[in-house]
Symmetry: C2
Subunit: 116 residues, 2 copies
């Protein structure tokens, strides 16, 4: 038996979670929402709608759109969104540690630990 969970931030609907976090990390890495969506096996349209919904629910701009240029433009994560991503990452790591500790206390070690 092992612990399973999903955590997300809600604001009249799903505002942020691991999927969006991964998408934004890929945008940072590739400098392109097109590329980021592609690497996640997600349509560009879906990624775009997701960003729009997140911006509305979180209340700040996530993507700086840069149109034109030799590369045909790209997308950059705003400073505010970068800060938010850092907070979210620390939050989810701390949440994971806490949940694993509490699970261990009541139900013993997890399957992963049993195997080592």
């Amino acid at each position: 038996m092992k612990l399973a969970y999903k955590i997300w931030l809600d604001s009249d609907g799903k505002a942020f979670g691991d999927g969006p976090y991964e998408l934004l990390c890929l945008v940072e890495k590739t400098g392109s929402l097109h590329q980021a969506a592609k690497q996640m096996g997600m349509s560009y349209r879906k990624a775009w709608l997701l960003i729009q919904a997140m911006e509305k629910r979180l209340g700040f701009v996530i993507l700086d759109r840069q149109v034109g240029g030799l590369s045909g433009g790209g997308s950059k994560i705003t400073a505010q969104a970068q800060e938010f991503m850092k907070q979210y990452d620390i939050f989810r790591i701390e949440a994971r540690h806490a949940l694993e500790e509490i699970y261990g206390k009541y139900f013993g070690v997890t399957e992963q630990e049993e195997k080592t």
Copy 2:
């Protein structure tokens, strides 16, 4: 913005969570899986399959079936399952407190707290 999450116990599939916990509480209260399923708006067949899957995944018997008698029989939670339910209840309360504390640390108070 507020914290949202789902926690469950997994053993090659969903083994236990809040839904099953609620179902078993109702079986304890009513002494009948029929009644418990009804109160949860669940078909008896679905409740029965859920119990069977849980017993398989958790590895112990959950329901003592009592057939016959004036009342036409009923269902009782086994002592082992009662113990497990207690553990699960403490586990989920502790998990909730930990997650709320960590959420508050990184994202401020929850919507519920803001309203009070």
